[in-house]
């Protein structure tokens, strides 16, 4: 099965990176989080209530909504901060991407092997950092990035309301194959976040990567 994939590209200032990624990923996660499942028996369950919170951005003209779950928000914030720190460091050329991937586990045929992870939806945000000269430019950038994120949030809601594939509601024993049940207040579909940063000398094209790979192989 092929995973659905959505890619967003943004050009912004370094200090806007965290909020830009957070606004998009939290909007996605808000839609992909359910309440905790309270099973009555193997197949019958009730679902608890999810709360939500408005978040005002400091560096972007935008307010977005996230789940009112501290544990989930801490987890997301940590991943985004790691990405943002590397992106803004001297080792980076100012471009990089971070992905939010939803997957489900498929039990392996062999008991001793780890279950296989099959992604079903991937959201990628590609960032290109820029440097601004003055406050006027900064103000314009605040508004511009806010407008771009607005369009992307509208696109996310459009995708969420398509009748696309979602993993089936599992029976009690299979819950962990579909949902992350480790959080105390919400139950998101299983997800993970990956990121990559382009170094100052390396390009992003396949050709450059291959050249580098061959060079390294020859040196060995």
């Amino acid at each position: 099965m092929n995973a659905r994939s959505q890619v967003f590209e943004l050009t912004l200032e370094g200090r806007q990176a965290d909020e830009a990624v957070a606004s998009l990923f939290h909007t996605v996660l808000f839609h992909r989080c359910l309440g905790k499942f309270l099973y009555n028996n193997e197949s019958s369950y009730s679902v608890s209530t999810v709360g939500f919170t408005d978040v005002d951005c400091d560096f972007i003209d935008l307010t977005y909504v996230c789940c009112s779950s501290n544990s989930l928000n801490r987890q997301v914030k940590q991943e985004i901060s790691n990405f943002s720190e590397q992106l803004r460091s001297n080792e980076s050329n100012g471009s990089g991407q971070i992905s939010l991937e939803f997957f489900q586990r498929k039990p392996s045929r062999y008991l001793f092997l780890q279950p296989e992870c099959i992604p079903w939806e991937v959201w990628t945000v590609r960032l290109q950092l820029i440097t601004l000269e003055n406050e006027v430019e900064r103000q314009l950038c605040r508004e511009r990035v806010g407008d771009h994120l607005t369009d992307k949030i509208l696109y996310i809601t459009e995708v969420m309301n398509r009748q696309d594939y979602l993993p089936k509601m599992p029976s009690k024993s299979d819950t962990d194959l579909v949902f992350d049940t480790s959080l105390p207040d919400v139950q998101p579909y299983l997800f993970k976040m990956n990121y990559s940063i382009s170094g100052p000398s390396s390009g992003t094209s396949v050709g450059t990567t291959m050249r580098k790979f061959i060079k390294e192989s020859l040196n060995l």
């Binding site: 909007t27 009730s46 939500f52 408005d54 307010t63 949030i153 996310i156 459009e158 969420m160 309301n161």
Partner: protein, 408 residues
């Protein structure tokens, strides 16, 4: 195909779907209205709650919104697919101008079979997702930012609900539409959308506001003084200062009590240097005792009854009206110019009191006839406060005198 589709729908299923759809519309209304209250919303998760919330989403219920929404939704017009259910968000400025910002529209269209899973649980879950989308979208339309900046001095955001086609022409040129999402159910396709204004220029309607309140920084330029302004406006009718002081510039001269021979000039001591009013200051003081004459008392008690009557009749409006009277007669009040520092120390309080009373009893303009008069006790208190602040006024005037080149 449509027939088959309807055949498959049992009565119970239809009842369930009708209920889901109504609650979706109700919760959507709450989400939209609460997002425009100007405050950030935060509702907690309820992982151990026993009573489940609709669509497993914690949306507060504001009782007045529920009542308003139910009034419209209970008509069942929504479920008959004749009309969409609309929530209009508008902006009202402090001046009373209105501008419609956006119209949210919940519509039920004819059903069609998409071949997807349309069981009750699946639709319920999708409605939950649709509501989450609505929560996210309400934060990114232009009206959200405006609603966060609202205030009683600038503008407030208002809402209204109706069952009709959305009035898009109210949204000006270049309005845009967002489709929040749609769900196919057996009773019809539920569609949520928003049409919003993109041009935020408000064209104020001409209001009949009184622009007489003159704001000026050059208080000591005698040519521009409000006193001169009033005199000049009544120049065509009056030839002497004394007449001007007796009759308000725009007052109705035919009023009975103004024909009474109250010839003493209020504040004549202020003008002692300029006008000759006779050389008997003692008489002035004696005349000032007239304020306690029976006639005066009669009139005062009369006006006191009116105030109580007004208080009884209008309740909360009284205070507002009193404020209005202060504003609308602000020009005349400025005429006093807080001149107690220049008044003679003896009898200044009575003179001021008398002036206030006379001013109060002066023939009213048609507009102000309904306003209640100030009670005598309040007036006395007010004057006492002014008196206690005398030093402060003195010092202000002195500093102004020192800094103004026009003043000698």
């Amino acid at each position: 195909m449509k027939k088959d589709f309807k055949m498959r729908l049992s009565k119970n299923d239809k009842k369930e779907l009708d209920k889901f759809t109504k609650f979706l519309a109700l919760k959507a209304t709450e989400v939209i209205v609460q997002s425009r209250l100007g405050e950030k919303v935060s509702t907690p998760c309820k992982p151990h709650a026993t009573g489940p919330d609709w669509f497993n989403l914690n949306i507060n219920d504001l009782p007045e919104v529920v009542i308003e929404a139910k009034k419209v939704l209970n008509s069942d017009l929504f479920l008959t697919k004749k009309f969409p259910f609309c929530i209009e968000i508008s902006l009202r400025t402090a001046e009373g101008d209105n501008m419609v910002l956006e119209t949210w529209c919940a519509r039920l269209l004819d059903p069609y079979d998409t071949g997807t899973n349309n069981n009750g649980q699946n639709i319920y879950n999708r409605m939950g997702i649709l509501l989450k989308s609505l929560v996210s979208v309400t934060r990114v339309t232009p009206a959200y930012k405006l609603s966060r900046k609202q205030g009683p001095d600038s503008y407030v955001i208002c809402y209204r609900m109706y069952m009709d086609e959305p009035l898009c022409h109210c949204l000006g040129e270049g309005h845009k539409q967002i489709r929040v999402g749609q769900i196919c159910t057996a009773i019809g396709t539920v569609q949520l959308s928003c049409t919003y204004r993109t041009k935020m220029t408000i064209s104020p309607t001409k209001t009949s506001r009184d622009n007489s309140l003159m704001l000026k920084s050059d208080h000591f330029n005698t040519n521009l003084s409000p006193r001169n302004r009033r005199y000049s406006s009544s120049d065509d009718r009056t030839s002497s200062l004394s007449e001007t002081m007796k009759i308000g510039a725009f007052a109705d001269r035919k009023r009975k009590h103004f024909e009474e021979p109250q010839l003493d000039l209020p504040f004549c001591t202020f003008f002692a240097d300029r006008i000759s009013l006779g050389d008997h200051p003692e008489e002035e003081e004696e005349e000032s005792d007239l304020s306690t004459s029976p006639k005066e008392e009669d009139r005062l008690s009369c006006s006191g009854n009116e105030t109580t009557k007004n208080k009884e009749n209008n309740g909360n409006n009284v205070q507002q009206q009193q404020e209005m009277s202060m504003v609308s007669t602000g020009d005349d009040f400025i005429m006093v110019d807080l001149k107690t520092p220049f008044a003679k120390p003896s009898g200044e309080k009575f003179e001021l009191t008398r002036f206030f009373r006379e001013w109060q009893q002066a023939p009213l303009l048609e507009t102000f006839k309904e306003l209640p008069p100030i009670e005598a006790t309040d007036l006395q208190k007010q004057l006492e406060t002014f008196e206690s602040d005398l030093n402060e006024f003195d010092s202000i005037v002195q500093t102004l005198c020192q800094s103004s080149p026009n003043n000698n």
